[in-house]
Amino acid sequence: MNTGRERLILLTPGTFWLMVFFLAPLFVLFIYSFWVVENYRIVVDPGLRNYTKIISGEIYYGVAIRTIRIALVVTVLSLLISYPVAYYLARKVRRFRFTLLMLIIMPLWISFLVRTFAWALVLGRNGVINQALQGIGLTDEPLEWLLYSEFAVTIALIHIYMPFMVLPIYAVLERFDGTLLEAARDMGASKLRAFLTVTLPLSMPGVIAGTIFVFVPAIGAYVTPELIGGTDGMMFGNLIAQQFGATFEYPFGSALTVAMIAFVATIISIGLRYGRLGRT
């Protein structure tokens, strides 16, 4: 019933706000990525130097590879951990379903700064795990690689983003039409076969959504590697943040950011296309 003019009044403020404070800054970064810094001053001399620097620099390459590796491991492990959880909640429980679901959602509300630093207490040199291992005599000395490492970042990111994998899979499985499964069973399919040929393919949209919800923030992670990654767990986000901090390399930092956005956008568009195919 809303007329065109009324819709315009409703949509304009929000659109304007997002254009000015969300899109415009991204555009500014894009422009900066072609400039350079000389003697601590930004010089407007457009070129592709920042991009060639990224491609030729081995450090950036190494950090990019590690970032993708961490994000992949986090996503795959989150999926393996989450699928049975979502399946259990959606198909196996009736009473208390909402309460049990809350247990998975609740950690999402807690600041990820707190959730990251909690792992420092668990994985640290004198942390809970090391003390337990020494206590039962499995190790004589604390395991040093538990904290300030790629391992620490990986486990903390799984902890932080895993609920984002459970939710979309749960949503798909909950709305799932049980008659298809019954049909498969009636035709003589075993439970396992019915799961693999009916349930699993039908839950793919949820799996793909969850994969995007976990993979993308993992690629852009910054606080977690900063706090518990050390040098071994440094990620692309830390590299970007450095350019905007002490080193004052906005143009180079902008180029790194553009590279990250391009990568993330590619992943999302692949995911969306794949997700649509899965639905038809």
Binding site: E6, I110, A120, A241
Partner: protein, 260 residues
């Protein structure tokens, strides 16, 4: 039959192991905040509330908490009207354009916050503005708006538009319908979205880190303290923020669920 019972049992055990994985680290934080010793090491020597007392006497903490609350409330005051209007605007006539607009409003949610932060910082620097709590506020509205739009949009999808039409037929104008029919019906969704926008702002360290001036917010203060090492005071501060976010979000969930 025995087989399916086994599967159910195995899935149940797996579920509780995952819950254990999610909550143990948080439990450790809260536990150590009551520890009598300075270092966060097991076994617990004794229990005390001294660290909380110390926390409440600390002016820095008080200032940061105040700043965080102000910014979070103002985030709600900006993100909610903009987001609700936007969602109502795209509600009717669900065509391709509505889908594009919805994706546009949801985009800041999937964009890594680091990128939102450095983007704002660069633009603010370019214009020559000073970094302050105001610039933090702008950043936080960007994470609030997508939540508001998505929640209200979801509510509008199952919305009975005939009430609005009836009001129109009886001669009510656009604003009258909006204020007396649409918004009251959306109230639970709006309250829920407000609380979520509040926690998202209250808990954010990343956008704040890049857009903040000389003041502190609670996450920024906590982050600063963490760099100097983990003390029971840090554990206590983390436990306090944990409690505030849980209570706010619990309220949001209850409001959203009860009125479904």
């Amino acid at each position: 039959m025995r087989n399916s019972l086994f599967i159910r049992l195995a899935l149940g055990i797996w579920f509780w192991l995952v819950v254990l994985f999610l909550f143990t680290p948080l439990f450790v934080v809260v536990l150590f905040s009551f520890n009598t010793t300075e270092i966060s090491v097991l076994p617990m020597r004794g229990y005390t509330l001294d660290w909380y007392a110390k926390l409440f006497q600390n002016d820095q903490v008080g200032d940061a908490l105040f700043n965080s609350l102000i910014v979070a409330v103002m985030t709600v005051m900006i993100a909610v009207p903009l987001g609700v209007a936007f969602a109502v605007g795209i509600a009717r006539r669900r065509g391709a354009l509505s889908k594009v607009l919805l994706a546009f409003a949801a985009a800041p949610m999937i964009m890594p916050r680091l990128i939102i932060g450095v983007g704002l910082l660069t633009m603010i620097d370019t214009i020559g503005l000073r970094l302050s709590l105001w610039t933090v506020l702008i950043g936080h509205t960007l994470i609030g708006i997508p939540y508001v739009v998505l929640i209200v949009n979801a509510r509008l999808a199952s919305f009975d538009h005939s009430l609005e039409e009836a009001a129109r037929d009886l001669g009510a104008g656009f604003t009258t319908v909006l204020w007396t029919v649409t918004l009251p019906l959306l109230r639970p969704a709006i309250i829920g979205a407000s609380l979520i926008a509040f926690t998202e702002s209250f808990d954010d360290p990343v956008i704040s880190f890049f857009t903040i001036g000389v003041e502190n917010t609670l996450p920024i203060l906590l982050w600063g303290l963490l760099r100097h090492g983990i003390t029971p005071e840090v554990n206590a501060l983390a436990s306090v923020t944990l409690l505030i976010s849980i209570l706010t979000a619990l309220a949001a969930e209850v409001v959203l669920r009860l009125n479904k």
